[in-house]
């Protein structure tokens, strides 16, 4: 705590114990701790995926050739749709950081504008994911067969039959990991959109002006950037590598 003694700290910035560890507020530090634990869950999922596909390398699907659909067309376009989803999430992350910046200037109108764009971006991402899942499972070029709690890719990549009655380990694990990891990430996006919406409503009502600071925008911002961060890794390890 060497740093904090050199500077007189306003009473309002101290925690209950009369100190301000790391010069951050209690809420922000706890958000970081939550994000570390959440990042460990995602790290566990992605390393588990790596574990399976490393020893099943011979029968693992060609990942970028699986989802090649694009809305309103039957053309075979690998990666483009996922690239679009990635781009939407990055842009909504940018609008989020602009909302945080506006909050630091106590600019209520700026916060409202950028938070509204962030909510919109999150909603577009969720809609895109819904379309991706639907096309995957039930679309005219759908590739996934589901049964019970299980799923498998049923296009025949390796000369072996892959279907519910005759599943091959690689394609089956691919499909299960796909729904598990993108689903878990999508759930995070969903709760992020809800949190952003609540903060947007409170900003419109002028809560944070009364409070004297916009730190709540910063806290939900951390969560939202984390969601974007996870997607960057999911994109690489699911679709590219």
């Amino acid at each position: 705590m060497a740093g904090e003694a050199t500077q007189v700290i306003d009473q309002k910035e101290l925690w209950g114990g009369g100190r301000s560890p790391f010069s951050v507020s209690y809420g922000k530090l706890m958000m970081w701790f939550f994000l570390i634990s959440d990042a460990l869950s995602f790290g566990g999922f992605l390393t588990a995926l790596g574990f399976q596909r490393h020893h099943l390398a011979n029968e693992w699907p060609i990942t970028e050739q699986i989802f090649t659909h694009f809305p309103f067309t039957h053309a075979h376009i690998p990666l483009l749709y996922v690239a679009f989803m990635t781009f939407i999430l990055i842009i909504s992350s940018v609008t989020m950081v602009l909302a945080v910046e506006a909050g630091h200037r106590m600019d209520r109108k700026g916060v409202i504008k950028w938070m509204a764009f962030t909510v919109l971006g999150g909603a577009i991402f969720l809609g895109s994911q819904a379309w991706e899942w639907k096309t995957f499972i039930a679309g005219p070029d759908g590739l996934i067969e589901t049964w019970g709690d299980n799923a498998t890719l049923f296009r025949n990549f390796y000369g072996q039959g892959t279907s519910a009655t005759n599943p091959v380990e690689g394609p089956q694990l691919y499909a299960n990991f796909f729904f598990f990891i993108t689903g878990f990430h999508g759930t995070h996006v969903f709760s992020g959109v809800i949190l952003n919406l609540l903060v947007l409503i409170r900003a419109i009502q002028g809560w944070y002006d009364k409070r004297g600071h916009y730190e709540m925008v910063e806290k939900v911002g951390l969560y939202w950037h984390f969601v974007d961060l996870v997607w960057v890794f999911v994109f690489t390890f699911f679709y590219l590598v």
Partner: protein
């Protein structure tokens, strides 16, 4: 007791108009970097994807490493600039990053090791 989430907030929670301009400029630069990296990744995936390249050759290994490096660069920009971790105290930065990186590096090592072993043992005992 007073609501503690109302009275407590971080140091440096406010900045002026001029500082804001500088910060916004930085945000736009980082946005451009992230967009370009994503575009490069997608282009690489389309041109040098597994469907068009010998996956057992050393070229594919280089591409895989390039994908992972580009991803880590993107992650670094998001964490240090967008999440402002680069502007926080050193102590907080390392409290968050170091344990996580050590843990994930260990997890990666042990799973890679075991996965290689399973692959090896499959060649000997066919029922695994």
């Amino acid at each position: 007791m007073e609501r503690d989430d109302i009275i407590e907030y971080s140091l440096h929670a406010h900045h002026s108009e001029e500082e804001g301009k500088k910060i916004r400029k930085k945000i736009f630069v980082v946005t451009a970097i992230l967009s370009i990296i994503t575009a490069v990744e997608v282009a690489m995936g389309m041109v040098w994807g597994k469907a068009h390249i010998d996956v057992n050759g050393s070229g594919w290994l280089m591409i895989k490493i390039a994908f992972i490096v580009l991803t880590l660069v993107k992650a670094g920009y998001i964490i240090l600039v967008f999440m402002h971790l680069g502007d926080e105290r050193k102590g907080l930065k390392y409290t968050i990053l170091v344990p996580y990186i050590i843990f994930i590096a260990y997890l990666f090592f042990i799973l890679y090791e075991e996965s290689t072993f399973i692959e090896y043992i499959k060649g000997i005992v066919h029922w695994v």
